[in-house]
């Protein structure tokens, strides 16, 4: 009796394992509405011009975006402006998600009407998933330098910024060098936006400290050591800075991208943002891409056209980010001059790590970060 039960359970277990192995389901591409032409269009011209693209997008009527917090580079306004301008209903999913979550969501909801249409990704995730993007060249594609785009338009850098220190000027003095952050005036006040092994902003923050202490994109150790020192001095708060923590005064000093820091002026009126003087700034761009399986391909392409138009680029500028077409727009005089001049001044050569450098640094962090800031 026992051996029979054993045999039956063995067979059952093998069967279950087999089931689990063949679990990836056969997915037919959802007939995404009207836009089978739009799904393969590589530029507006393929559809018969911008007017035709707008018409096709309006017919689809919907757009799914993901991981766009409303106070990140003015996305709240951008989404609203786009929706009002074209009468398209924009669903903003999971505003708190990270780049990897965007890809996971796209994979999980492939073929459904709720899959994300477009991505805004950090460098590492963007370059690791290029097979998921549709090739599309926006109208202003040629304005963008070859370094900042995929030659076929699979991805394009959209906006960038530099790592900066944001602080509540009513609570702490302006930091003149990175070592100031180790001082007693900053005790229990400094927060890094994210764990560097999980979040791109946190990662770049540690890189900024590394560069300030003599390291580089090939050597992040000085940055890890610096944060270790800050933790031991009791200056580092092990908490993600959010609107809530800034308003309550729990994190009066935040190391984050200059544009996300700039948005905190809405939380605390005395908030200021400063890049470290006399230190090469750490820069980073985000990557725009269209989901190859987008349920609303025409709307997705119209969204890209909007983002890279003068209006879209200026909206990003209003959020404190540096739009990718800034140079071309300055030449053409279409940039919002007042806001552009108000951006923090940059001295030195920006440090933007390559994929190989990023991987090496991530591996170092994976092994050493947790112990350093225990």
């Amino acid at each position: 009796m026992a051996s029979r039960t054993l045999r039956v359970s063995l067979v059952a277990a093998v069967g279950v394992a087999a089931l689990a192995a063949c679990a990836p389901p056969a997915k037919e591409k959802g007939s995404g509405g009207s836009g089978t032409d739009a799904a393969t269009a590589t530029s507006a011209a393929d559809l018969g011009g911008m007017g035709a693209l707008v018409k096709a997008a309006k017919k689809e009527g919907k757009l799914n975006v993901i991981a766009l917090p409303p106070d990140w580079a003015n996305y709240g306004n951008i989404i609203k402006t786009f929706g009002d301008k074209y009468g398209i209903q924009v669903t903003s999913q999971q505003p708190d998600a990270g780049s990897q979550d965007e890809i996971d969501a796209a994979k999980r909801t492939k073929g459904t009407d709720r899959a994300p249409d477009v991505f805004d990704l950090g460098q590492a995730v963007a370059l690791a998933n290029t097979s998921m993007y549709a090739k599309y060249k926006v109208a202003s594609f040629n304005d963008i330098d070859a370094r900042f785009k995929d030659a076929n338009g699979a991805w394009v850098n959209d906006y960038g910024g530099y790592m900066a220190i944001g602080y509540d000027s009513a609570k702490v003095p302006a930091p003149k060098s990175i070592d100031d952050l180790l001082g007693p005036k900053y005790k229990g006040k400094v927060a890094l936006n994210g764990d560097p092994t999980t979040s791109g902003a946190g990662f770049s923050g540690v890189l900024m400290a590394a560069v300030a202490k003599g390291g580089s994109a090939d050597n992040i150790k000085p940055g890890v050591d610096f944060f270790s020192q800050m933790k031991k001095a009791g200056n580092l708060v092990p908490v993600d800075p959010t609107s809530a923590t800034i308003k309550s005064g729990q994190t009066p000093v935040v190391i984050d991208w200059d544009y996300t820091n700039a948005a905190h002026v809405n939380d605390v009126a005395t908030w200021k943002v400063a890049l470290l003087p006399n230190v090469d700034p750490v820069g980073g761009f985000y990557y725009q891409a269209i989901n190859a399986d987008a349920p609303h391909p025409a709307a997705a392409r119209l969204w890209e056209e909007f983002l890279f138009s003068d209006q879209g680029q200026n909206l990003w500028l209003a959020g404190g980010a540096r739009p990718i077409r800034a140079d071309a727009m300055v030449k053409a005089g279409t940039i919002d001059k007042a806001k552009y001049d108000a951006l923090p001044k940059v001295t030195g050569t920006p440090v933007i790590p390559t994929t190989e450098q990023t991987t090496k640094m991530s591996d170092y962090l994976a092994k050493n970060w947790a112990a350093a800031v225990k």
Partner: protein, 258 residues
Amino acid sequence: MRTSPAFRVFRVVMLLLFAVFFFGPLLAMLDFSTRGTNGSRTWDAWANLVKNPELNRAIVASLLLALFTVVLMLLLLVPTMIWVRLRVPRATRLLEFLCLLPLTIPALVIVVGISNVYQWVTYFLGDHVLNLTFVYVVLVLPFAYRAIDAALSSIDATTLAEAARSLGASWGTVIGRIIVPNIWSGLLSAAFISVALVLGEFTIASLLNYENMQVVINLLGKSDANTSVAASLAAIAFAFVLLLLLSVVGRSRRTEGS
């Protein structure tokens, strides 16, 4: 010894300390969520519970999830348990093992391995937060099983069934009109516990990137701490009322039914 004055004092002091530890945070939540600017009191955060559209959607989603989970759990579990008790008693051990298995397999592990299964679910049913019902039924199984098992054990199901069958009732009638009405308190108990569990579930919803009530409360905490604390307190209070109702119902059934 039990009624010695020293013991009575000890008991009062200890109970007071426990009360402070357990009720203190609840009171602190009330204070935190009603804080206004410059030391004033305001109910704005509580008003947000009905005004905030995202929170509203999530509350509705969680309530619907609780409802669907209870219905599916009852449909799946009750006939199976009654059938096993009446007709396949050899399977009792297997059923018990399977129902208690989710206690050993953490929800975190289930969600790590379930993404393939959910791709199929999304394929058939579209991507909707209510898809979580299927995995939630698995999560509530151990608690529901214990409650229904206790109720089934307290009545003599076999005799009742034999009597009904000898009078010509079909198996459906036996299950639906004879047994079920007698284990009603167990079913209610299972339902209430399931509702409490579903309303408090965060792990699976957040790692599958669905927005149920707990996920949205957590998200709100990043921008509006007062509202999220108010929502948490409301959820705890709701669960308390639910389980209080459960204990009242359980008692009244026992006095009238037996």
